[in-house]
Subunit: 198 residues, 2 copies
DNA sequence: GTGTTTCTTGACCGGGCGGTCAAGCAGATT
DNA sequence: AATCTGCTTGACCGCCCGGTCAAGAAACAC
């Protein structure tokens, strides 16, 4: 593929990706047909195949862009904060904010993880996300602010809490993002420091 | 449907469910055809539709049975333990053990959550699981062993950690279940007590 | 052996799917 | 005016899917 796109073309591409994201999230990837996608935009089927090689490539593209965007928003949120624990907190908060603003993608991510064809794309992105956080955890451990445990495991635990709370409370129940973020941060910081003193 | 099944019939039903579970987990629900399922067992297509109304019903049945089994194994693991915090710990450990022994179902659960048709089935089961744990958390709060926060949120956080660590470490990396369980328990107990004292 | 019920077969059907393509349109370039 | 390139059309194709069903085969009952 790798077509030359004019600004008009780029806009169409956006439209297709956005609209498809909505349909995929609402009805599922497989049950959504290419015909359905183009009908929603009132264009012919050929348009779709002008911008994407296949339905599969479209989803991969959506996933890639989303992950990239999430990462960007996270790095921007953390900014130049120096305290490692605070960096983690900011990361959690920005994750939740992003997920709240992109609810449809939560479902899409979750689906993509279940299908052999898309899992690699997703995994690569998640590894980057993990790799972004692990150093902060390590730093926290060195500083004695976080208990001495495998940083990778701790990071995954944080990710598990954040994603699940986003799904359960922000997405399904529509609770205020900030409240959920507070709860997630409190639980994770407790889990990281882990003074389970009697 | 509601057929009368002889023991021979019940066995066929089992075979179909087990084999389909594997195919669904490996290749995805939609990409797996009914023809594929019955071919793997070397029987005709009619056999499938003798035991199940539809492919959809089959998945629902698999999900229901799995959730029921998971709950049973959890209740058995908790037994008559009286300490609420310890009950939570036993719940986490038995969850991880079950998930490790039924890896294929992790993927299936995750897929089912993304599709409108199956989400309700899944949600009902998850609500039961949550409802099982919430009282222990409440009890722990009353006893001053767990910090005073919304028990529902805390329970979901536990579930998020457990499921994610199961996926990331037990399923994808094949790490020893007990190690992962130790890490999950440590993180969750930290998150529950949450003495983030300076 | 006869009747009844449970189970199995596999050709068949209608339909919808992902993907193609010859043809045409529109705006910039020359 | 002519041309070229980015974009659009929608009928069409071959395939395979979920699901049906008339016709039996086993197992069991008596």
């Amino acid at each position: 593929m790798n077509r030359r796109l004019t600004s008009r073309g780029k806009e169409r591409r956006r439209q297709l990706m956005d609209h498809a994201t909505g349909l995929f999230a609402d009805n599922g990837y497989h049950p959504t047909s290419v015909a359905e996608i183009v009908q929603g935009l009132g264009v012919g089927k050929g348009v779709f195949y002008w911008y994407f090689q296949s339905k599969e490539e479209l989803l991969v593209e959506i996933l890639r862009e989303a992950q990239h965007d999430l990462r960007r928003s996270q790095q921007q949120a953390i900014g130049d904060e120096t305290d490692p624990v605070r960096r983690i907190e900011l990361g959690i908060r920005s994750s939740l904010a992003w997920l709240a603003a992109n609810r449809r993608l939560i479902t899409l991510f979750q689906f993509a993880a279940t299908e052999e064809r898309f899992a690699p794309t997703l995994r690569r992105g998640q590894e980057v996300a993990i790799a972004d956080v692990v150093p902060h955890v390590k730093e926290g451990i060195v500083a004695g602010r976080i208990r001495d445990a495998d940083p990778l495991v701790l990071t995954h635990a944080i990710l598990g809490v954040t994603n699940h709370l986003a799904r359960a409370f922000v997405m399904e129940r529509g609770e205020p993002t900030d409240d959920v973020a507070d709860a997630a941060v409190a639980f994770c910081l407790g889990g990281l420091t882990g003074d389970t003193n009697p």
